[in-house]
């Protein structure tokens, strides 16, 4: 049941990815990430002294500030801030710099669908650029479910609006490590199959959601090695068109 | 606030116990009151009152407005008090906000009386031009210039004198304004009709220090206050409002004879204030 998409992409094809790092000179770490027309700029101001009120002083504290393209911060932005903060808290090693605050500023340059996943990827790239110790990187993808139970990846704003439902999924990125495969299995599944964050909109059947999980996992492999390539490249601000 | 040493506190308390205060007054005497009216030209009415070192200015501005839906036959009065930082360093920035909110609320309560309008100092129904559509809105603003205690009484007196100095312009309503759109109203700026302030109450605050209570307490005496009762009484001797401030509890019987003392004191204060206002009006005419 092939559903053709407005911009001619197949179901699993992502929009062209572009990531450039160290774009701002005053920030300790910065990165701009764009998926198709959705573009987000993330800046990290390194561990600063002191933590916010009622935050745990034994651990580092992550603060996310979301700047919309225009207008005021509504409830949606507050929710994005909370989700991003929880996600980044789970991938950062918080005990290395106790009693410090790392603030991450997300500036939305343009929003053409799948905004939150794009922000997560940009934040991860900015964190690595700033040299903040991370357990692993996070890779985010948006899968939307058409009426016939048909799953498509990385929708544009238009597709996102008139589809039945969509889900933002965040996975740890695929790790290349010397241990044999068996060692990295966690109760029978490779570590990167675990979901860090999942937010869904719209009603869908349970197995449609599981189908989204599968497709999302497949896509993260591609995203992971794009992320690794863009991080390894010596020239930090090279524009690398995705495969 | 000036800090008082234990010796000074004891001295003031002892004095009050023997009916002789630090500035020579008896327990129920007022400090000299001076009133100037018409000091702000662009307001409908204004007055400045000085009681001893306490100096306040009150101004009344009458503007056309729409009566609110729940009371179509009544005009609107809003009281706002502002404590300027010149009076006390503590009033800087937002410091004076809480005190000014409290003063505004107790003044509003004394001036407007009950919800059905009885006991109101200002007769709200006289502010109506076209019922339900156009009425006068009275904006009463008070400013504390310098504070040496007894702010509420000074503001009460200032508002009473400002109201007596207020002139409400005469109004013609263009006939034929049908339906619910705003009728055409023109305001003449020559003839003013005087505002009747016969029923505007004055406020007397009794401050309890030790076992006795005094009238018109200065800032030092107010810092020793265990509790204070502000009573507003109009010309006919009726009580139009009462607020007990300050922490310590009071025996009901003490409150009752405080009320009778306040009534007795208010008659003197009322007559003194009327003569001061008349003098100020006369002085304003010939100047």
């Amino acid at each position: 049941m092939e559903v053709d998409r407005a911009d001619g992409r197949t179901a699993n094809q992502l929009r062209p990815l572009a990531c450039s790092r160290n774009v701002l000179n005053r920030a300790h770490g910065s990165a701009s990430w764009s998926q198709g027309d959705t573009k987000v700029l993330a800046a990290v101001y390194g561990p600063k002294a002191g933590t916010k009120k009622n935050e745990n002083p034994e651990k580092a504290c992550i603060e996310v500030i979301w700047r919309t393209k225009s207008g005021q911060n509504g409830k949606a932005e507050k929710e994005y801030e909370m989700i991003l903060k929880r996600t980044l808290q789970s991938i950062c090693v918080l005990t290395v710099y106790p009693n410090t605050t790392t603030s991450i500023i997300i500036q939305v340059v343009h929003d053409d669908g799948a905004l939150l996943p794009c922000a997560v990827n940009a934040a991860c790239a900015a964190l690595t650029d700033a040299g903040i110790p991370l357990k692993h990187l996070a890779v985010a993808i948006c899968c939307c479910v058409a009426d016939g139970g048909y799953v498509m990846l990385d929708p544009t704003m238009l597709e996102e609006q008139n589809m039945k439902a969509f889900a933002y999924l965040v996975f740890p990125n695929a790790t290349m490590c010397v241990l044999s495969d068996a060692a990295t299995l966690v109760d029978g599944e490779p570590k990167e199959h675990g979901v860090i964050t999942s937010v869904t909109h719209g009603a869908m059947a349970v197995d449609e959601y599981l189908l989204c999980l599968e497709r999302g996992r497949a896509a993260t492999a591609k995203l992971s090695d794009f992320l690794r390539r863009s991080l390894q490249s010596q020239v930090p601000s090279g524009q690398l068109e995705s495969a | 606030m000036v800090g008082l040493s234990a010796g000074e506190k004891h001295f003031i308390q002892g004095g009050i116990a023997q009916d002789l205060r630090t500035d020579g007054r008896k327990r129920l005497d007022f400090r000299p009151i001076s009133v100037e009216t018409g000091i702000i030209p662009q307001a409908s009415g204004s007055a400045r009152v000085r009681i001893g070192a306490t100096d306040v200015i009150a101004s009344v501005k009458a503007e056309l407005g729409k009566p609110n839906a729940s009371q179509p036959d009544k005009g609107k009065v809003s009281v706002h008090i502002d404590c300027s930082a010149t009076a006390e360093p503590a009033f800087e920035g937002r410091g004076g906000e809480e005190l000014s909110a409290e003063l505004s609320v107790s003044l509003q309560r004394c001036l407007l009386g009950g919800k059905s309008g009885s006991g109101a100092g200002i007769n709200l129904s006289s502010l109506i031009i076209v019922e339900g559509k156009v009425c006068w809105d009275l904006y009463i603003d008070g400013l504390v210039v310098s504070s040496d205690g007894n702010l509420l009484d000074a503001l009460g007196a200032a508002i009473k004198s400002a109201l007596s100095n207020t002139g409400i312009p005469k109004v013609q309503v263009a006939v034929g304004a049908s339906g619910d759109e705003q009728p055409e109203v023109d305001v003449s700026d020559e003839e003013f009709l005087q505002f009747d302030t016969s029923s505007v109450p004055i406020i007397v605050t009794l401050t309890k220090i030790g076992r006795h209570y005094i009238v018109d307490a200065t800032a030092d005496e107010e810092s020793l206050m265990s509790s204070a009762v502000s009573i507003s009484i109009n010309r006919r001797g009726q009580i139009c409002g009462l607020t007990k401030r300050g922490g310590a509890g009071l025996d009901p019987s003490v409150i009752l004879d405080m009320i009778s003392v306040a009534k007795h004191v208010s008659e003197q204060l009322m007559s003194k204030l009327d003569s001061e206002i008349a003098a100020a009006e006369a002085m304003e005419e010939d100047s």
């Binding site: - | 839906a69 729940s70 809480e98 909110a101 409290e102 609320v105 309560r109 407007l112 009386g113 009950g114 919800k115 059905s116 009885s118 006991g119 509790s227 009762v229 109009n234 001797g237 009726q238 009580i239 139009c240 409002g241 009462l242 607020t243 007990k244 401030r245 300050g246 922490g247 310590a248 509890g249 009071l250 025996d251 009901p252 409150i255 009752l256 009320i259 009778s260 009534k263």
Partner: protein
Amino acid sequence: MAGKTPTTYSPSPRLKSKPAKNDAYDSVRPDGRGFAQCRPAFMRTGAVNSASGSAYAEFGNTKVIVSVFGPRESKKAMMYSDLGRLNCNVSYTTFASPSRAQGSDHKEFSTMLHKALEGAIILETFPKTTVDVFALILESGGGDLPVVISCASLALADAGIMMYDLVVSASLSCLGPNLVIDPINEEESREDGNLMISCMPSRNEVTQLIITGEWSTPKINEAMRLCLDACTKLSTITRTCLKDAASSTQD
């Protein structure tokens, strides 16, 4: 539902105010009570278990919840003070009163609640710290402030804050010649005067008294007498409620 929510109005008819001066004040009130009869009072402690002390009170259809957060470190901006501090806050729910926009006077209620409780709490027992008293009025059936004050003192007792005595409060409206205790919304909207007293019954001390409208001295005497014995009746109810709460935790 994007953008500014469109302005809406409530379809319920404006409370048609009855002719203000109907001389023949019927001896029975709109809800069938006598003039000196208070509304049925129901009080219970322990309504919110994440607070150190809390109470729920229902007088007629005025429903109030108060929760007290025990002596805790005060805000950083506060200077050192060897007396404890009291911080009160009263707020309405949006559906408390029939018309949504109402409830603007709750800022004034916070200072009044503070003044009513200030005289009864032994502040020296918790120096440098603050006791927070927060009240939420779920439904406003009239005479809200007295219910909040009585419920707050019950919550303070539940939180174990040292007090000279429980504070109970009652209010009274004057409708023409009649003095009507514990008024409801309808009576309050057309009252000529209002007297609200909060006192410590066993010490017979008045901690707060607010009178509005026109009163003659004899009328004030009688009104205060009526309110004070309503307070003593209310304080017995509050004490029994505390005793049951204490006995129920023992067994």
